[in-house]
Amino acid sequence: MNGFVSRGFTPRRQTPEELADRLPPGQYAESGWPVLTAGPTPDVPTDEWSFRIDGMVGEPKEWSWEEFHHLPFETITKDIHCVTKWSKFDANFGGVSMDVLLDQVEPLDAYAMFYAYGGYTTNLPIEEISDGKAWVVTEYDGEPLPREHGGPARMLVPHLYFWKSAKWVHGMTVMDHDEPGFWEQNGYNNHGDPWKEERYWGD
């Protein structure tokens, strides 16, 4: 771009060739799963957990933990990308597609605000969470999703930076306009496509 070269810098962390085209610009491959959270980790017992869809919908709906587990459950293997620069290949989750949930409420408008236990929010257009692009997940590698990673349930929206995949998710509100969520108000990009490197405001 500007031709700048860092004097004496030689790469240490070469991504294997077969994986290189799965690594978005500015990211590095991480085998662990780092934790990033803006506040203390909420403790949400499954018998108190629910997921609801409200706002501009035909009929608001709320699923308890048990009801949620009667929905069609799938395993999902995806690469995930965190704005703090790490990416994780082939992360394996289990959960319910947003398509299944949206089918039951009939969204009437184009935008959604996801909200989580603990107060976190993040905004997503409905089209970014439809057609096999988003899930509410409760399992990681076949085990219950660890609390520090958002258990009992979190969003999985793997085509966008991972702050869009709200941990401890509690529901979403369908809205007739877009509105920035928590990180979107605090400096991160409103959309967050890792392939376009939409990290911060103005990217």
Binding site: F4, G39, P40, F182, W183, Y200
Partner: protein, 245 residues
């Protein structure tokens, strides 16, 4: 509806995020055997908020690039540049470059300052809890407070492992409580062991705004202690360092 977090502050200012710019390293200070501070003069400097970070980007001859984020250590009153304090992670890619290659006069590519949540905007009282290099953004807050509002109640509780792990040692005054979890310096008569409820209580900041920064394990434990001390969860801001760098 579980809507936006109650914010005690006015809405964030809409600042233009920094563009990539090429800064010049003008001073390097060895803080500990594993930690160095780099003063970087910037052609497009802008004042940051204490707690914000910069992104650093390294580019190899073949075009390969590596990026990481580092917290700013210096007060925004130090105009024209920033100080980044960088912990050397042996299996890292960017931090070993800074430690082993960069010398004064070198150019580095950075952009920032970024994000406006883990920032101090003059609220009080303030409890800072840091583990290891998690002290960096907290020291930025402490330094800025000392220079602008020295009477504002702000206390740092700082945990390190070994005697030679203390970053900013010569700046730890009566507003800082230090504890060593493995081995303390000879003759040390202060705190030893992990941060506990007693040490949090000793800081004497009752139900203020808390900033907790360190490794994930540290932040999990320390933020729970702050919660147990009666803090509102919405008034505890955390920043966690990943395992790599």
């Amino acid at each position: 509806m579980g809507r936006l977090m109650e914010s005690p502050m006015p809405p964030v200012e809409q600042r233009a995020p920094g563009r990539w710019q090429i800064g010049t390293v003008t001073a390097i200070k060895e803080e500990t055997p594993r930690v160095k501070t780099f003063r970087i003069e910037l052609p497009m400097w802008m004042a940051h908020l204490p707690g914000q970070h910069y992104d650093v980007r390294l580019t190899a001859e073949d075009g390969y690039r590596a990026q990481r984020s580092y917290s700013i250590a210096s007060s925004p009153l130090d105009e024209g540049g920033i100080e980044l304090t960088i912990d050397k992670l042996e299996d890292g890619e960017v931090s070993p470059y800074f430690h082993d290659v960069v010398v004064e006069g070198d150019q580095v590519e950075v952009r920032g300052p970024f994000t406006s949540y883990f920032v101090w905007r003059g609220e009080k009282p303030v409890l800072l809890v840091g583990g290891g290099s998690g002290v960096v953004p907290l020291m930025c807050m402490l330094r800025h407070r000392r220079r602008t509002m020295p009477d504002l109640p702000m206390r740092l509780v700082y945990s390190v492992r070994h005697a030679d792990d203390v970053i900013y040692e010569d700046e730890l005054m009566e507003d800082a409580l230090l504890t060593f979890t493995r081995d303390a310096p000879e003759g040390w008569d202060g705190h030893r062991g992990h941060i506990d409820a007693e040490l949090i209580a000793e800081a004497g900041i009752d139900r203020g705004l808390a900033f907790v920064c360190g490794s994930n394990g540290f932040v999990e434990t320390a933020s729970q202690l702050v919660l147990d001390a009666g803090y509102d969860p919405q008034r505890i801001r955390t920043e966690r360092f990943g395992p790599t760098g």
